[in-house]
């Protein structure tokens, strides 16, 4: 759904069409995405159109990337520690 919305705004039925889900299941999923601030929707007449909240997505992606970078850095230090202690064990 997020992938489809990344191409541009879409109506609920357009989003539901390629998915092996009922329309009400799609609506439920959209509700979760909307509550998380990832998707915005508005009604024009009888058609509800959804758009991706790029700013929130970008922020989340950056957030996750930073958290990942933090752990990568710790593991670099773990590698260094393991190399150091291996050398010590050899010396003994």
């Amino acid at each position: 759904m997020v992938e489809r919305l990344s191409l541009g705004p879409a109506s609920v039925s357009e989003l539901a069409k390629p998915l092996p889900m009922t329309l009400s299941a799609v609506v439920q999923h959209l509700k979760v995405l909307e509550e998380a601030g990832l998707v915005k929707s508005g009604k024009v007449g009888r058609v509800r159109t959804c758009t991706l909240e790029i700013k929130t997505m970008a922020k989340l992606e950056r957030w996750i990337a930073e958290r990942k970078r933090f752990w990568e850095q710790q593991y670099d230090q773990l590698e260094g520690y393991l190399a150091q202690t291996a050398a010590k064990e050899k010396d003994q």
Partner: protein, 157 residues
């Protein structure tokens, strides 16, 4: 506040046996040698109780004045095989995220494949909050980046 969930994983092949990798997590002395901040920080609290139900805490003040708090509880420990913990990350007393972290140590020849899988709930602002607190949120994310990169947090301006 709205919660956003996300999962990511990291894999590393480490040049050591699973027993040595596990040992690097299992004592405060070994863990402190690598699980540390890249810059000079003041440690406010450091707890380490490595057993199921035990807690770990790393509460610190950074050079810019920012206070971060890593609070974890160990949920599952299988010697030389895996460690599962849940950790909260706080910044200046505010909770940023709650994560379930699964660490697996798989023997691969004489080496170890470390698999880090993190399922997190990120307590970011909601759609309406993002608009009204854009500035504040950006500042928070920037400071989180600073924290993770070891840079100094910048003042709210």
């Amino acid at each position: 506040m709205t919660v956003t969930t996300a999962t990511f994983s990291i894999e590393r092949v480490l040049n050591a046996s699973p027993a040595r990798v596990f040992a690097a997590y299992a004592s405060l002395e070994a863990k402190s040698a690598w699980f540390k901040a890249p810059s000079d920080i003041e440690t406010l609290d450091r707890d380490f109780d490595f057993r199921v139900g035990g807690k770990e805490r790393f509460h610190a003040r950074w050079p810019g004045g920012m206070v971060t708090d890593f609070q974890a509880t160990y949920h599952d420990i299988v010697e030389n095989e895996r460690i599962i913990l849940v950790y909260d990350m706080f910044q200046n007393g505010k909770k940023l995220s709650v994560s379930l972290l699964t660490l697996e140590f798989r023997a691969e020849g004489g080496k170890t494949r470390l698999i880090h899988t993190e399922q997190g709930s990120y307590l970011t602002g909601g759609a309406e909050a993002v608009k009204s607190r854009e500035h504040g949120t950006t500042w928070h994310v920037d400071n989180l980046a600073a924290l993770l990169e070891g840079r100094e947090a910048r003042a709210f301006a």
